[in-house]
């Protein structure tokens, strides 16, 4: 079953084509990521899909229903976290959840459960404006989930979080997926998407440049693997003639080898006992982005 079906949507603001012919589908239970730098059109795309904005052209189906115009049957089945977190004034974390829940006819008792899910139980009676950035994000996600929707849309839930908070949030997102929800989320962090998503769409200038499972995208690159050793472990001359080595160079601290046959190179290095300070870096989505756009990825 497809949860989300987007067909060639477009949206312009004056001359600017914010979304320029985007199509994708998301299966039920899938974790789908939309990646791209600032201004790529992620939020606009997401908001069109949610039914908050009307596309200039193209169509969207969520669970077989049209989200625009405002579709009362669909609304209880989707949960949305907007890019800027939206809360009622002067209410505590728990009251926010209860209030948002009440919009969907959810009983007040549910609030505690979702506070626990996002790890905010001890902040239940804290007013929203006294929470840290990460705590607000988590509360915002809880507010999107409190009515137990089938599809969850999250716009940059991990933005502006410290590494620890990001990892905590990843656990929350995985837990949501485990509960059988379909997740569509946007992020700047390619590394994060690579870890979390079943499939990703890489966007730039309002278009999708590539879309697939992260591993498939990376593999399809035919990009070299970089092997780094402590300097002096092996001489530059020896390194350059190892079987499978494409290229090698050296600086003050290390020797770097690039190869398309990492297994072969690593085996030879192991044979020679030359593994001091070994680091292996394979291609990432950033390399995919670099190849697709010809420019370095800068979130």
């Amino acid at each position: 079953m497809t949860a989300v079906e987007v067909d060639d949507i477009r949206k312009s603001y004056g001359e600017l084509k914010a979304v320029d012919g985007v199509s994708f589908t998301v299966a039920e239970g899938e974790f789908f990521g939309i990646l791209g730098p600032n201004g790529a059109g992620k939020t606009t795309t997401l908001e069109i899909v949610e039914g908050l904005r009307r596309p200039d052209s193209g169509s969207v189906r969520l669970l077989g229903e049209q989200p625009w115009p405002r579709n009362q049957r669909l609304l209880p089945r989707i949960g949305v976290q907007l890019q800027a977190s939206s809360f009622f004034e002067k209410l505590t974390a728990k009251e926010q959840l209860q209030t948002f829940g009440s919009l969907y006819g959810v009983s007040a008792g549910k609030a505690a459960e979702y506070l626990e899910l996002v790890g905010l139980t001890d902040k239940a009676n804290e007013q929203e404006n006294k929470l840290s950035g990460g705590q607000r994000q988590r509360l915002s996600i809880a507010c999107a989930l409190v009515h137990d929707p089938d599809i969850v849309f999250l716009d940059e839930p991990t933005a502006a979080l410290d590494p620890q908070a990001r990892r905590n949030l990843w656990d929350v997102l995985r837990e949501i997926q485990k509960r059988g929800k379909t997740i569509v989320y946007t992020t700047h962090y390619l590394d994060e998407a690579e870890i979390l998503c079943d499939r990703v769409a890489i966007m730039d200038h309002g278009r999708i440049l590539a879309m697939d499972a992260p591993a498939v995208l990376v593999r399809g690159l035919d990009a070299p693997t970089h092997v780094t050793l402590q300097k002096g472990t092996l001489s530059l001359e020896d390194a350059s003639v190892l079987p499978g080595v494409d290229e090698s160079h050296e600086n003050e601290v290390s020797l770097s080898i690039s190869t398309r046959q990492p297994a072969k190179v690593l085996a030879t290095l192991a044979e020679r006992g030359a593994l001091d300070g070994l680091q292996v870096r394979t291609a990432t989505l950033e390399d995919v982005f670099l190849q697709l756009t010809g420019r370095e990825y800068r979130a």
Binding site: E50, L52, L82, S85, F87, F88, E89, E95
Partner: protein, 347 residues
């Protein structure tokens, strides 16, 4: 229904946790009530001051009349000196049956009043002295309730004004802040009608207006001010509600245009302050030029004021609500309609 109930609950909590809105809703109008109440406390009870030398039946009658504030002197030259100095408007010197009234020509009006009153006293005493029944008798009383002190005028006016502040600000600031903080967009994605959300906020405003009514009336009723409610004072309750509706719709209109909270409060003030003056909240507009009276009659606050005054202190009944209620309802419908047309979910 549950959405409406819990939304109203949430908004009540939000309102009472916001110190600034509490201040502008309760303390700010109360400050005006207290200041004006104290300032004008004795204004209605001005007594005629006079210096008196000597004694007699006339002086006794003057004392018991309560019209005079008598200052006694033993020496007639000292009494005349205070009149000359302008401290008192007149001095009465009693020599048995002869009464000398010395007044300062510099304050002609006061002098004329004293002269008139004294003449009355003397004539009455003369008639009594002849032992005849007086041929004519004049009994006079104010047309308003005899206890109509300034606080009786002030309280209805300041209450109406306070309600207009809380309703306009409440609606405008809520709308702007919700739009800015994306709460409106978020609500749009929930299966609840915007009407439900708005009416729950309106319920908060109505509750606040009723609470203002209770608090202001209680404060004004303390012995310090001495407000006395009359007749069917409870008719003020529907009037408070209708006034809230009218000013809430004004707030919705302001909130639809304002981009920031600052702009919203600026615009709200710009609406409320001139309206308060023109509606006679602080000073009666009866003596103002004709065009002011005309403008005044177009303002909802003026009609709310009039209605409040009628039912709270003039002791009038249901019929006094007819005009204010129809004006407020009409105003709500028109402004509410416009506000709904210009309503925006997002910037």
């Amino acid at each position: 229904m549950t959405a409406f109930k819990s939304l109203s609950g949430a908004m009540f909590k939000g309102f009472f946790r916001d110190r600034l809105s509490l201040f502008f809703t309760f303390l700010f109008p109360l400050m005006f009530l207290v200041i004006f109440g104290l300032l004008f406390r004795d204004a209605g009870a001005d007594k005629q001051k006079i210096a008196v030398v000597g004694d007699g039946p006339i002086v006794t009658a003057m004392e018991s009349s309560g019209i005079f504030e008598i200052q006694k002197f033993t020496d007639s030259s000292a009494a005349v000196a205070t009149v000359k100095a302008g401290d008192l408007p007149a001095a009465l010197i009693v020599h048995g049956s002869r009464l000398d009234l010395r007044f300062a020509a510099s304050d002609q009006q006061a002098a004329a009043v004293v002269n008139g009153i004294m003449n009355g006293f003397v004539d009455k005493a003369n008639v009594m002295a002849t032992g005849q029944q007086p041929a004519f008798e004049l009994s006079s009383e104010k047309v308003e309730d005899s206890s109509l002190k300034p606080i009786q005028f002030l309280t209805p006016g300041i209450l109406s004004w306070g309600v207009s502040i809380s309703a306009v600000f409440g609606a405008a600031l809520t709308l702007v802040s919700w739009r800015k903080k994306q709460v409106l967009r978020r609500i749009r994605l929930a299966p609840v009608s915007p009407t439900t959300v708005l009416s729950s906020r309106l319920l908060v405003s109505i509750g606040v207006a009723l609470l203002q009514g209770v608090v202001f009336v209680l404060v004004a009723s303390t012995p310090l001010f001495g407000l006395q409610l009359h007749g069917q004072w409870w008719l003020a309750i529907p009037l408070l509600m209708l006034g809230t509706l009218a000013f809430f719709s004004v707030g919705m209109l302001v909130g639809a245009f304002a981009k920031s909270e600052e702009a919203a409060s600026g615009a709200a003030n710009l609406v409320i302050m001139p309206m308060a003056f023109l509606s006679g909240t602080f000073f009666p507009v009866e003596n103002a030029p004709g065009w002011v009276q005309t403008v005044s009659k177009l303002l909802p606050l003026r009609h709310m004021n009039d209605g409040m005054l009628d039912v709270l202190v003039r002791g009038k009944g249901m019929e006094a609500l007819a005009v204010p209620a129809s004006v407020l309802i009409g105003f709500t419908l028109v402004v509410g309609f416009v506000a709904a047309r210009v309503f925006r979910w997002e910037d």
